[in-house]
Subunit: 92 residues, 14 copies
Amino acid sequence: MNNIGLTAMISILAAGLTMAIGSIGPALGEGRAIAQALTALAQQPDEANTITRTLFVGLAFIESVAIYCFVISLILIFANPFWGYVVTKAGG
Amino acid sequence: MNNIGLTAMISILAAGLTMAIGSIGPALGEGRAIAQALTALAQQPDEANTITRTLFVGLAFIESVAIYCFVISLILIFANPFWGYVVTKAGG
Amino acid sequence: MNNIGLTAMISILAAGLTMAIGSIGPALGEGRAIAQALTALAQQPDEANTITRTLFVGLAFIESVAIYCFVISLILIFANPFWGYVVTKAGG
Amino acid sequence: MNNIGLTAMISILAAGLTMAIGSIGPALGEGRAIAQALTALAQQPDEANTITRTLFVGLAFIESVAIYCFVISLILIFANPFWGYVVTKAGG
Amino acid sequence: MNNIGLTAMISILAAGLTMAIGSIGPALGEGRAIAQALTALAQQPDEANTITRTLFVGLAFIESVAIYCFVISLILIFANPFWGYVVTKAGG
Amino acid sequence: MNNIGLTAMISILAAGLTMAIGSIGPALGEGRAIAQALTALAQQPDEANTITRTLFVGLAFIESVAIYCFVISLILIFANPFWGYVVTKAGG
Amino acid sequence: MNNIGLTAMISILAAGLTMAIGSIGPALGEGRAIAQALTALAQQPDEANTITRTLFVGLAFIESVAIYCFVISLILIFANPFWGYVVTKAGG
Amino acid sequence: MNNIGLTAMISILAAGLTMAIGSIGPALGEGRAIAQALTALAQQPDEANTITRTLFVGLAFIESVAIYCFVISLILIFANPFWGYVVTKAGG
Amino acid sequence: MNNIGLTAMISILAAGLTMAIGSIGPALGEGRAIAQALTALAQQPDEANTITRTLFVGLAFIESVAIYCFVISLILIFANPFWGYVVTKAGG
Amino acid sequence: MNNIGLTAMISILAAGLTMAIGSIGPALGEGRAIAQALTALAQQPDEANTITRTLFVGLAFIESVAIYCFVISLILIFANPFWGYVVTKAGG
Amino acid sequence: MNNIGLTAMISILAAGLTMAIGSIGPALGEGRAIAQALTALAQQPDEANTITRTLFVGLAFIESVAIYCFVISLILIFANPFWGYVVTKAGG
Amino acid sequence: MNNIGLTAMISILAAGLTMAIGSIGPALGEGRAIAQALTALAQQPDEANTITRTLFVGLAFIESVAIYCFVISLILIFANPFWGYVVTKAGG
Amino acid sequence: MNNIGLTAMISILAAGLTMAIGSIGPALGEGRAIAQALTALAQQPDEANTITRTLFVGLAFIESVAIYCFVISLILIFANPFWGYVVTKAGG
Amino acid sequence: MNNIGLTAMISILAAGLTMAIGSIGPALGEGRAIAQALTALAQQPDEANTITRTLFVGLAFIESVAIYCFVISLILIFANPFWGYVVTKAGG
């Protein structure tokens, strides 16, 4: 039963830390992009459409990095092949 | 009973740290975006609508990263599949 | 009795650290937003209403991140399902 | 008696660190906000009322984060449910 | 006698670190606020009263955070309930 | 069964950390690039096409670094040759 | 004799670190305040009195934080209640 | 079988960390280069060709550093001579 | 003889670290104050007296923080009450 | 067989970390150089030849540092004299 | 003989670290002060005497902090009371 | 055989880390120097010869620091006197 | 023979680290001072003598800090009183 | 044979780290000095001689710090008195 406990512990820890550490970069990056977008809007109100569109495409790029982390985190919780193997083996 | 204790400990620790570390990035990012929004408002009061709208959409993007962390944290506390397995096994 | 002690220890530690680490980001972020709001007020006193309103909505966003941490921290102290299970078991 | 000692130790350590780490963010954030308020006052003495009012509301927001930490810290010292359980059990 | 020693050790360490770490934020924050106050005084000598008053109210806010740490630190040294319990028990 | 448990643990941990740490750089880098793109748009609206095109090619470069991390992370979860060897051996 | 040694060790270490770490913040904060005071003096020599007075009141605020650390440090060396208890007990 | 387990563990960990840490520098460096390229484009739209060409050659230089890391990471997973030796020996 | 060795070790280490860490803040703070004083002198040579006097009073404030550390460090080496107790006891 | 396992582990870890840590400096340095080159190009399009030539010679200097790391990393994997000795000895 | 070895080790380590860490602050602080002095000289060559004199008095203040560290370091090597006691005891 | 294994391990690790850590400073320093050289070229194209010559002499200085690290790293791998002694002894 | 080995190890490590850490501050401080000296020279070529003289006196101050570290490092290698005692004792 | 192995290990590690850590400061400091020299050259081409001469004298100062580290590193590898003693003793 040792392997089950250790695999569970590490999966929980890794899932949490992946999302936690993985949120720092995207959040700061998005904050910076939005901040500059607002400055740009204030400087060139006439280009609001171009600026907003470029901003949202860019945010999607950054958000994708956060989503990679979220995906890895959820895989580690709900679709973890190592856990599957260990549980199957313990159940046999 | 060893596995139960260890899984519980790690789940508690991971849930706490996920939310704690995961709050640094979004809070700083939102602070920056809002700060710049206010500067922009002061520069271009006439564009208050566009600026405020862009700000709130942007804040929603950043907040979503914090919410990913909150979700992972709550899953680890209340819907933790590893804990479920370990408890079920111990109860059998 | 080992599991009870360990679960209690980790819950206490995690509750404290969650709130402690979780206070850094929001406090700094709010400080930045307020600082910029005051600069904006000094530049455009006529827009005091818009600026103050945007500031308070923004502060609510940031405060919400701190409150997530507070909620997780209180859950870990007063509504901790792992502690509940371990105590129930020890009492049985 | 092991659990009592460990729970006491961790409670003391967590209470101290929660307040210690939790003081960094709010103190720096308030310092920044006040610093900018004074600059704003020097730029727009006529708006002293609005600036001061906004500053104090903002400081209350930041202070609230420090107070969350203080509350958690006092709960861990004087109203710690884990300590209560462990002591009750040891006394039984 | 083990619990007494450990509780004493941790209380001493926590009391020291709480005050030590808790002094960094307030000291830096106050330094910043005072520095800006002096700049403001040099820019607007006529507003010396408003600036000084706002500064001192602000410093009181920041100092309060340092005092929370001092209070926690003194409680841990002189009014530590965990130490009281452990000593009472050892004396019984 | 020892090797299986250890290999599983390290694979989970490494997969999580690879994606988590690997998200910091790309997210911050993309945030910076987008922020500057918006400033550039506001300065030279007539060059919107060139700027946007250069931005997206550049983002693809940065995103490729994040994707290397994602690939390594998925390989470690789903196509890990070390795990394959260890499982095959254990099954023989 | 174990408790005496451990309590002594921790008291020494905590006293030293409290003062050491506790000197960083105040020294940097005072440095900043003085530096700005000199700039202010150079800009507005006529306000030397107000500036110097505000500076010294401010330095007293910051110095008070360093003195809290010094007090805690001396208490831990010369008026340590835990050490008193442990020594009394060992002498009985 | 000990060597197999340890070699596998370290290879997995090293492969992950190499790519993870190795992504920070290139991503930030590319972000900076692209950001400045866009500023340059906005300043000198007539030199778009030279700027873009220099940018892409430069990005190739930086990307090459990331690719060194990727290569080392893949070698450690799929062409690891130490693993090969250990497995061959275990199979003999 | 164990307590003597441990107390000696910790006293040496604490004395060294207290002075070492305690020198960082004051040295940097004084450097900053002096640097600004020279700038101020260059801007307002006529106020050299006021500037120099304010500088030296300020340096005395900062130096006092370094001296607190030096005092604690010397107390730990030459007037350490814990060492005194332990040696007395060992000699009895 | 112990030495073989340990030497293999350390070689793998060192090879990975050498390349990983060794990529941070060159990538950031190249990013900075390229960024400034583009600014220079925008300021002095007529000197494009000199600027580009100086840039590429400079990048070669920086790249050489990254290549030192790559060389050390490959030597540790494929031409490691310590591994050679240990394997030869084990095979005798 | 155990205490002698440990006391020697810690004294060596503490002496080295005290000087090493204690050199960072003063060196950086002096560098800053000198750098600003040269700027001041270039701005006001006529005040060279006042500036140089103030600089050297200031450097003496900073150097005194480095010398405190040097003194502590030499005391720990050549006049260490703990070492004296331990050696005397071992020789008796 | 223990000494052989440990000496090999530490040599490998030290060789890798020496080059890895030793690449950070030179790469960043060269990046900064080159960046400023390009700015200088753009400002004073007529002095291209002096600037380029000074740059390359300076880069040679910085590169020499990186080469010291490379030399130490290669000595540790291929001309390590400690390894030589240990191997000779083991072979006797 | 245990004490000899440990004292030798710690002396080697401390000597190396003292010089290594002790080189960071002086090198950065000197770099800053020289950089500013060159700017000053470019601004006031007529004051080259005063500037150069002040620079070299200042560099001597900073270099003295590095030399303190070098002295401590050499004392620990070649005139280490602890090593002398331990060797003498072992030889008796 | 234990002392030989440990002394060798620590000497290798210390030699590597001394050079590695000791390269960071000088390389960054030289980079800064060279960068500023080039700016100065671009501002005052007529003073090229004075600037270049001052730069090279300054670089020699900084390089001397790096050479101290190199010397300590080589002493630890090729003229290590502790190693000499341990080897002599083992050979007797």
